[in-house]
């Protein structure tokens, strides 16, 4: 790797050794000055297109709909179109309704506003909210199942923390409890378990990718959230690999307890994503089958503990490591539920999920390397029955337990 870099550098033209002079600074700034001039010209002349006489382009993003109390509906809206929007009237279930809008009913590009509607919403029923603009364009928001939004108080904080504990900390800890059994495994057994870890991580990455895209659809179009996902994933992988290389120069390839921590971190970000999904489902009233949803996620996440424990089998780490690993991988679910239920933001959720995908991909690379090295040491090809079987089993277990989360 280093050699290649060196060669590439040599092929570049030799630096002339000249320092910046007045001329070179002017030459550096010239294109920028010209660009500013061209932009000014375009603005001044409308790029030769003449005055735009078409109706304004109106698009509205509705990141949040809440039911803070009986008889009250609240909406957050963001103007993500190029032109200002004036919200003239509001309808609930095809009936014009009284409302207030703060700070005002005209929204410039990327401005946001809060609409409050005194409406006697009916528990467990669907409600549709329409906003009609000055020009008669209609924007729609949906409440699939009307349930009062969680209140931000100590009781709900505790309740949601418990939910996060059930879906995050408990299953990961239970999975880690297989550690003693895993120590009895032979080399082939270990290959199987490590490959299983890769399988489940790959599944989680795909799972998060789907989730991220779903959430990204709710982000104001101007932010281009769907493109943000691959960009952040690549950046995260590259950054973590950079950090990994810096560490590895001293300690060699990732393995053992440090690798377990890496896996736990990736899984932690994933579980935070799950927490967000659960919290948001509660907030949106979609979690009518709340208990079933929690059971599903709990079962789904047990395998994650196995994945974290796998690379440490030969290390005999101190028990505090297990507690810490369980917290790193599981506790973010609690934070996720809180965020999802109280301050859900599609944009930030997309960002977190994308970073999580990057972290998991980086861990997949490290664990795969570990398997590859073990296989080479045993003079075996990378794909043997134990590694293939483990990989397939990891994917299969995650897929099958995911069926339980039929939210």
């Amino acid at each position: 790797m280093a050699d290649t870099t060196m060669r590439t550098v040599r092929e570049l033209p030799e630096p002339t050794g000249k320092r910046f002079t007045t001329t070179s600074v002017i030459l550096l700034l010239l294109p920028l000055v010209l660009l500013a001039g061209v932009l000014a010209l375009i603005v001044a002349t409308d790029a030769g297109l003449g005055d735009r006489e078409t109706p304004p382009i109106e698009t509205l993003n509705i990141p949040k709909v809440t039911l803070p109390e009986p008889g009250q509906i609240e909406l957050e809206i963001v103007n993500d179109g190029p032109d200002p929007i004036t919200i003239a009237q509001v309808l609930v279930n095809d009936a014009y309704w009284q409302f207030t809008i703060e700070p005002g009913n005209t929204l410039d590009r990327l401005d946001s506003a809060t609409i409050a509607i005194p409406y006697p919403w009916v528990k467990d029923e669907a409600h549709a909210i329409s906003m009609i603009s000055e020009t008669g364009v209609v924007f729609e928001a949906e409440i699939p199942v009307a349930i009062q939004s969680p209140q931000t108080n100590a009781e709900s904080f505790t309740r949601f923390a418990l939910v996060g504990f059930y879906v995050g900390v408990i299953p990961v800890s239970l999975g880690l409890l297989w550690y003693p059994s895993m120590q009895r495994l032979g080399r082939k057994g270990m290959s199987f378990i490590l490959a299983l870890t890769v399988g489940l991580l790959v599944f989680l990455a795909f799972d998060m990718w789907e989730e991220a895209h779903e959430v990204a659809l709710g982000v104001a179009g101007a932010f281009d959230a769907p493109v943000l996902i691959p960009v952040l994933v690549l950046l995260t992988v590259a950054f973590l690999m950079l950090v990994g290389h810096l560490i590895r120069d001293k300690t060699g390839d990732a393995k053992g307890v440090p690798l377990a921590y890496q896996i736990a971190t990736g899984i932690g970000l994933h579980n935070m994503g799950e927490g967000l999904a659960i919290g948001a489902a509660f907030a949106l009233g979609e979690a009518a089958l709340g208990v079933f949803l929690i059971i599903g996620f709990t079962l789904h996440n047990v395998t994650e503990g196995v994945g974290i424990a796998a690379p440490m089998v030969k290390d005999r780490p101190a028990w505090r490591h297990f507690v810490l690993l369980a917290m790193i991988a599981g506790a973010p679910a609690i934070v996720g539920v809180w965020i999802g239920a109280f301050v859900f933001s599609p944009l930030w959720t997309t960002v977190f999920l994308a970073i999580g995908i990057g972290a998991i991909i980086q861990v997949v690379i490290d664990v795969s390397r570990l398997i590859l090295r073990d296989q080479q040491r045993a003079d075996e090809p990378a794909i043997t029955w134990p590694t293939f079987g483990g990989f397939a089993a990891g994917l299969a277990v995650m897929y099958l337990t995911a069926l339980l989360v039929a939210a």
Binding site: L91, A95, Y96, W97, F99, T100, G104, P118, I132, E134
Partner: protein, 364 residues
């Protein structure tokens, strides 16, 4: 827009203070800004607080800018345009109107603007009214950018039918035409543009009511109350109401329903009725996209004359009638035995009611 917000604040303040008042009696209080609530000793204000401790109002917020609109729906509802009448040497009357088709934006709900096609800049167009047997000449000028016509529901020649491709056909932008025919049969009729595509030319706003008064000399005493020359008619309080709707998103479904164009206008500005005098309504359904519309009167019953072409009611003692598009009729009723108050009337298609076709009479 600041005007709207101002109005909304006023409304909400009124809503908060009036929250404990009972039922319908608070509606005008909320809508009629600046008017104090009527004294009503029989109702204890605190007696029937509604559920959730407040009122839930299905209505638009704010009010339209009547000056900007160019006509006032509260005046339109009782305006009848008799045009210019000339009595010829043979004693026959020729009645003439000048109608110009123009395009303009109209405010159909507070803050919601619709790019309308109009007759004389208003929707509905002027209510043309004539007496049975007169010669009518409607000088039509197309001042818009699309071909238009005036198609009258009445008796006339094919040449003056006002339909694309038939007789005089489309009147192109800048062109004009005089539609000419006799005023017959008597009744409650309508006119509208019949250019193609028909749906668009109607729902964009090219329509109006066309009334022909029965001649008592031919039809007998029963016709007297419907003829302006007879003193009997002055006793009546007459109104014209077109049930119309607007598709602001152009998807073939209406976003706003109304009586005479502006959603909830007669909720915010109740139509004042003198209960000692009888009421007659010329009602026309011109709603596009929906198969029927309806009219329901609260706390009262009326006689109904379908199409208004008879002097005997076609339906007696009803409180709800339905009309298909272009169906129309005359409603006659009285509040003589009612106590004063606010009496609602609205489409008994609840959806239309909540989308704007809801009104009240302020019976005094």
């Amino acid at each position: 827009m600041s005007r709207n917000r101002m109005n909304r604040r006023t409304l909400l303040t009124a809503g908060a203070t009036g929250g404990a008042l009972a039922g319908v009696s608070t509606l005008p209080f909320l809508f009629a800004q600046g008017t104090p609530p009527p004294e009503h000793p029989e109702h204890d204000p605190a007696a029937t607080p509604t559920e959730h401790g407040g009122h839930f109002l299905s209505s638009t917020v704010g009010d339209i800018d009547v000056e900007r609109l160019g006509w006032d729906p509260s005046e339109f509802v009782s305006s009848f345009d008799y045009g210019e009448a000339t009595t010829m040497q043979d004693g026959n009357v020729v009645r003439e109107w000048r109608i110009v088709a123009v395009e303009r934006e109209i405010e159909i709900a507070p803050g919601v603007f619709f790019p309308a096609w109009t007759y004389n800049g208003q929707v509905p167009g002027p209510t043309l009214r004539a007496n049975e047997g007169e010669r009518l000449r409607i000088h039509f000028v197309n001042g818009s950018t699309h071909p238009h016509t005036m198609h009258f529901h009445g008796l006339h020649s094919a040449y003056h039918d006002g339909v694309t491709g038939i007789g005089r056909g489309d009147i192109l932008p800048g062109e004009s035409h005089t539609y000419e025919f006799n005023a017959e049969p008597f009744g409650c009729h309508l006119y509208h543009c019949h250019s193609t595509p028909l749906k668009r030319h109607i729902h964009k706003g090219l329509y109006g009511t066309f009334i022909i008064n029965p001649d008592p000399a031919i039809r007998g005493d029963l016709a007297r109350s419907r003829h302006p020359d007879s003193p009997d008619s002055s006793e009546w309080q007459e109104f014209v109401m077109m049930m119309n709707a607007f598709d602001t998103t152009f998807d073939g479904e209406n976003e706003v329903y109304a009586l005479n164009t502006v959603a909830f206008h007669y909720m915010k500005h109740p139509i004042v009725i003198d209960r000692t005098r009888p009421v007659r309504i010329y009602l026309v359904n011109i709603t596009e996209f929906d198969p029927i519309n309806s009219f329901h009167l609260h706390a009262n019953f009326f006689n109904y004359f379908d199409t208004g072409t008879t002097l005997d009611p076609t339906l007696r003692t009803v409180d709800t009638i339905m009309q298909v598009q272009a169906q129309r009729g005359i409603l006659e009723f009285s509040y003589a035995n009612h106590e004063p108050g606010l009496y609602m009337f609205h489409a008994h298609v609840s959806e239309f009611a909540e989308l704007g076709w809801m009104s009240v009479f302020d019976v005094r």
